[in-house]
Symmetry: C2
Subunit: 291 residues, 2 copies
Amino acid sequence: MIEKLAIIGVGLIGGSVAMALREEGKVKEVVGCGRGEANLQKAQQLGVIDHYTHDVAQAVQGADMVLLAVPLGAIRDTFEKMKGQLADHAVVTDAGSVKGSVVRDAEAVFQGVPDFLVPGHPIAGTERSGVEAAFAELYRNRRVILTPLAETRADAVQRVEQMWLDCGAEVSSMSVDHHDEVLAATSHLPHMLAYSLVDSLSRLKENDEIFRFAAGGFRDFTRIASSNPVMWRDICIANQQALGGMLTRFADELHDLAALLEQGDADGLLSLFESAKQARDRYVDGVKHPE
Amino acid sequence: MIEKLAIIGVGLIGGSVAMALREEGKVKEVVGCGRGEANLQKAQQLGVIDHYTHDVAQAVQGADMVLLAVPLGAIRDTFEKMKGQLADHAVVTDAGSVKGSVVRDAEAVFQGVPDFLVPGHPIAGTERSGVEAAFAELYRNRRVILTPLAETRADAVQRVEQMWLDCGAEVSSMSVDHHDEVLAATSHLPHMLAYSLVDSLSRLKENDEIFRFAAGGFRDFTRIASSNPVMWRDICIANQQALGGMLTRFADELHDLAALLEQGDADGLLSLFESAKQARDRYVDGVKHPE
């Protein structure tokens, strides 16, 4: 049971945690913290939080669990504001899409990774944002990755893991670097490709016509290019190294494909498409998501 | 009214045309032609076709409308087999995803583009294939592009257009080259990117784990990598030039993005993502498809 949960950033991600824990009776008091007055008022009206403040230092007073659900670009500033204000028994976790940058921010602010910090990443979300988009089931059967460090206290990891289990999620652990590689491959790179494709096509003279003749496959393929640009700018900057590596790897692959095409190498093309289809079908079968 | 419709290739595309025209009472007799005995038997049992043959020359005897719904790689051979066998009033159309190659095949076989040929492309389909996947509503509110040539008889164009209108589709016309450019941009290039991405990731050592942590966005983004590899090999070979140009354009764009990333150019990244999101949202609003 969490006695007092402080949520810094009460949007889709933070709001849904509060709603899930309330529904399960796993939290006594929730204090919200953020900059937007209207959003926090709404969160209170909706019963997502009990009360709120704009002051991070005040929000974390006496909290045994602090969840940072702010954009990656705001993590360091939030650490600065909570420094020296945390209760002795406080555990701090976050929900950022990159973990290396969160650890670097913590090291810079706290002079070393504090033992109460459990970096985390719930792999869930929708295209919508803000507390009105929050719902208690967001994390049900979704994966949450925790990336505890050598310095992290075992009881802190255990408490954060329990919080996510109470939200209905499956919890895995891996190293910070490994997390950032895996997410660069499966999330950050695809977003870059979708943004690049749409941007590239929108620069064509006849782009309106081009988009008009696009079919359903294009709509699916480019859906993620409708994601929040500020969030993705922050993710790129935060995961610059791993994402850069994946981009290079992909550019090489694309170069090989262009060569097959130029040479009219039908067998080479077929072999590439078959191996990709096999991998994709295996992945889809593996996770047993409905198509 | 079509008196006798010959469908060469009775799968999802050809079968759905027959079903739609039957439902609307716009065809009297449908003869199917293909290589697979079991598929043709099934088509007859389902009432999609009245009878069938494995012989193209026989199938087109007396037909006033001939629809080629075979893979692009089989178009030329099909033209060869129907040469000299067509009725005087016959109109021939096709459903291939590339139009330049169909025209080149026709020129090679008929020594010039025949006036009865109306190259066409219904922008519709599902991941499924075969006549059992066919359904009468496949083309309803979908776009069909016709690419008539200077040589094409006006009445031939009019009859093919009417056939697609009777299937519930919207019909547009454009030049062969323009069609192949537009489709390279909105369909062929995205398929290449999806295949390349999945293939690239599947070569990573820990690829099973990578796919396990992929979220819904990845599933949407890579759905088209589950498409038929043989069909896509044929499309690549057939649309080599336009697709090669789009691939080069995209590779340049990706190179620019990689440079922004390497330089940590937050403003440049944000600007690219914002312009892509605007274009994508405009396109989605424009076509008013449910997301």
